[in-house]
Amino acid sequence: MDRYTFEKRLFGVLRWLVITVLVVVTLFPFCYMLLLSVRPIEEVLANPGQIWAGPSEWTIETYREVLTPAGAGGQGFLRFLANSALVSAAATVLTLLVSIPGSYAVSRLRFTGRRQVHFLFLAVYLFPSILLAIPLFVLFTRLGLRGSLAGLTIVYIAQTVPVSIYMLRNYLSTIPESLEEAAAVDGYTRLQIIRKVVLPLAAPAVMANALYVFMIAWNEFLFALLFLVEDRADWTVSLGLAQLSGGIEVSKTVLMAGSVVLTLPIVIIFFAAERLLTEGLTAGADKG
């Protein structure tokens, strides 16, 4: 057997091995999360090595505890879900309102300092968010914005605008400029061109962007921890879950139920729009 056939067969086998390992390694923790969340805690402690339990053992008690309001003896995650949804949706809409004109300017218009803008964006990622956290903590305390969802939303906008502009700019640069020139000849103003020509063409990228920003805001933890921790009514799901783990009397299965509640919206969004997201995120990356 020569080298070619040998390697062809070897990699043919290895490939399937790798695919299997990948699927197991990535999916297993999520399946385990789901399975653990519906089992009674005594059952888990008695048989920690058992993964699968029959449907007869399943319980929704854990979810009831997680979702019932704090006043009624539960953990009040419904409230947290509403907070998270509100912050993430607001951050998404506002980020797009800021980044769509911004990305249009960066990709189409020549203005002073166009080249230097990227250095500004670099600063967002070059410095650790914990470094921003200190002055923002002080500033928001002074402005009375700390402990409010509005303050958190502002931080999320700043954290996501650069990546949003970058993604949109890559997509806009693939739209031929001649379309806009034709619209300009027809007497459209620049804003009309953006609204009636560019936005409809860039709709997939804008959509992918919106979902991406939503996911970042939904998953964020550090700033929620720093700004909102004092008032339980303002907690996001991530923060609520992290605080839940600090409680000694909370069982691990309830913790897993909370994790499922936190993860499920993201998984649903992701699988519904997977194609859109992967292509939106890597737009332009294939050019090297």
Binding site: Y4, E7, F11, R15, V18, I19, L22, V23, T26, P29, F30, V44, L45, P48, L97, P101, G102, A105, V106, L109, R110, R115, V117, F121, L126, F127, P128, S129, I130, L131, L132, I134, P135, F137, V138, L139, R142, I154, V155, I157, A158, V161, W218, N219, F221, L222, V237, S238, L255, M256, S259, L262, I266, V267, F270, F271, E274, T278, D286, G288
Partner: protein, 336 residues
């Protein structure tokens, strides 16, 4: 206004930017300039207020002795001193935490890019269910960090974790391993005792697991853009798959790999959530960002926290400059 002398510096700069563009009437350019700045101004305002000014403020805080109680009185004209830096640089555990950060960052970066490359190569060709597999591989990256760290904690727990249970039952471990709270684990291999920084390795493994999809995504996109003729030509020449990879694919992927390494290095170096949630910075996993958080919330020492954060940022800049200067001439060319 038109002169025959040397162009003014500003004009020269303009020309360099658009070497081939036709000269347009000045008014239109001005209009475009104004529109550009106007469209970008919301972005600039947000980034400057929430990012740039805080950074500058941190620099100021780092050189003043300020605690949370007296921060209201702190202004631009406070008393500047190097006391914070001195305190931070000489405090016990600082250098070891910087070293931990470096090991954690390099380990996570290399592993996540390597696994991403392997995954991208394996999922390159078409097969039934490929879209579904690709989507599930991306799950660790998109899932909320709080949820996935908890699953890992529970899986690795010494009391009721699956890993330890199966390890002792099927793999013949003679004792439970506290993956996330054990600083050192002595592994006996062929009579040799090797000390492993257990918790740190676990955290690195977690980072590799959570972020290899990021590398995978970009590498797969790049792989699919490699022109098919290149590989066909190699095939005709009788190249084995490993040769095709080394001679054809790897050079095509190299710029993306380099860029991914830089991106992942920056992001991991500044990472806070993952380590904080997994170990709380204990058992030899205290990275600098977790230390900053401790200074801020446990000691209320804003000045020292700021100084520490600044050292972290400075460390990152130094590493990046070294990298860009000596190891990555290609990236510089790409960004220019």
């Amino acid at each position: 206004m038109v002169t025959t002398h040397e162009p003014r510096p500003a004009e020269a700069q303009e020309r360099r930017r658009r070497p081939t563009g036709p000269r347009r009437p000045l008014t239109r350019r001005q209009r475009e300039n104004r529109a550009g700045l106007a469209y970008l101004s919301p972005t600039l305002i947000v980034v400057i207020v929430v990012v740039i000014l805080p950074i500058l403020w941190t620099v100021m805080l780092a050189f003043q002795r300020i605690r949370l109680i007296n921060v209201r009185r702190a202004g631009v004209f406070g008393q500047y001193s190097l006391a914070n830096l001195e305190l931070v640089l000489t405090s016990p555990g600082f250098w070891s935490s910087l070293w931990t950060t470096l090991v954690y960052t390099v380990g996570s970066t290399v592993l996540s890019v390597l696994f991403g490359l392997i995954a991208a190569l394996a999922l390159r060709g078409r097969f039934r269910g490929r879209t579904l597999v690709r989507a599930s591989v991306l799950l660790p990256y998109v899932a909320p960090v709080v949820a996935v760290t908890f699953v890992w904690e529970i899986l690795l727990s010494p009391q009721f974790g699956l890993a330890n249970n199966w390890g002792t039952r099927f793999l013949g471990w003679d004792q439970q391993i506290a993956f996330l709270s054990q600083r050192q684990y002595t592994l006996s291999l062929f009579g040799l005792d090797v000390d492993l920084p257990m918790a740190l390795l676990t955290v690195i493994a977690f980072e590799a697991w959570r972020y290899f999809p990021f590398a995978f995504l970009f590498l797969l996109a790049r792989l699919q853009a490699v022109p098919g003729e290149l590989e066909e030509a190699a095939l005709v020449d009788g190249a084995a798959p490993s040769q095709t990879f080394r001679r054809i694919l790897l050079p095509q992927l190299a710029p993306v790999i380099a860029l991914l390494c830089v991106l992942r290095f920056i992001m991991t170096f500044n990472k806070f959530d993952d380590v904080y949630l997994l170990t709380g910075g204990g058992a030899g996993t205290e990275v600098v960002s977790v230390r900053v958080y401790e200074f801020l919330t446990a000691r209320f020492d804003i000045g020292a926290a700021a100084a520490q954060a600044l050292v972290l940022a400075a460390g990152l800049v130094v590493v990046l400059v070294i990298y860009l200067r000596f190891f990555a001439p290609r990236i510089e060319g790409e960004e220019a």
